[in-house]
Symmetry: C2
Subunit: 153 residues, 2 copies
């Protein structure tokens, strides 16, 4: 635990972004396609999709021509929801977890605790302030700038 996001969080967010980029509420994206495009093992990614489905962030369609779909439009899904779904409540220490924080006997006078709280809030601000739509727009910008640069390379 080195203040790092797990691969669950990273892969899961990339999968969600993939679904957002090709968002179409009537056309599910099959797992193998997400896995292939993002270079993630299908079997492993499936575990994350299961968590995201149980968390209500994606819907699944079983059977042939099935796959996964965002359960809401990209503008209504924040990266904070996604990370929390995959990693649990934010909290760089147990004592400042967003959900039932661990009580320790110095909770009420511990000043390092207030520092961790500030860290937690600053992380939450970034993650809750970014939606999948924001990331899609970023991706579009990057795409355009790469296209423009092609003429010079």
């Amino acid at each position: 635990m080195n203040l790092k996001f797990s691969t669950r969080a990273r892969y899961g967010l990339r999968a969600m972004l993939e679904l957002a980029l090709s968002y179409n509420p009537s056309e599910p994206t099959p797992l193998f396609q997400i896995a292939e495009r993002q270079g993630i093992s299908e079997g492993y990614l499936e575990q994350m999709m299961t968590v995201l489905r149980k968390g209500g962030l994606v819907r699944s369609v079983r059977g042939a021509q099935g796959g996964y779909l965002l359960s809401r439009v990209p503008a209504k899904i924040t990266t904070g929801e996604i990370i929390r779904c995959l990693e649990g409540p934010l909290g760089p220490t147990g004592c400042v977890s967003e959900e039932d924080p661990e009580i320790c006997d110095r909770s009420d006078f511990c000043v390092t605790r207030t520092l961790w709280e500030k860290v937690r809030n600053s992380i939450a601000d970034v993650l809750d302030g970014t939606t999948l739509e924001d990331l899609c727009k970023d991706a579009e910008k990057v795409r355009r700038s790469r296209e423009a640069n092609m003429y010079y390379i």
Copy 2:
């Protein structure tokens, strides 16, 4: 790796705070005292003190009446330095590490990477913007408010 600080970081910061609270450049604090006051195993805390010493944040005095000392005044030591010393460079993912970030083949167009960068910067802002002196002042405030409340309890 669940975006949590390690005990190294938490214990180490508490030890540094302990040294800051009793800061006196001519009187080292022995390990057993820090460990006792903070409720941390002496043997384990020693590992952290070694790291902090090698990182230049504390000096040690060997032999009887020896112990540890902050190597600078509390106002000149940020929590960011302490955490980096104990946990390595900040970077919630390898690809946005402050020191030689891992290169991945989608580095130049990956938009999740820019999100991780924002997270990293927001954490760094909090940690680099807080010194041990700040924490000492907080501790003093807490102490005073608890003292005041004593009359009512």
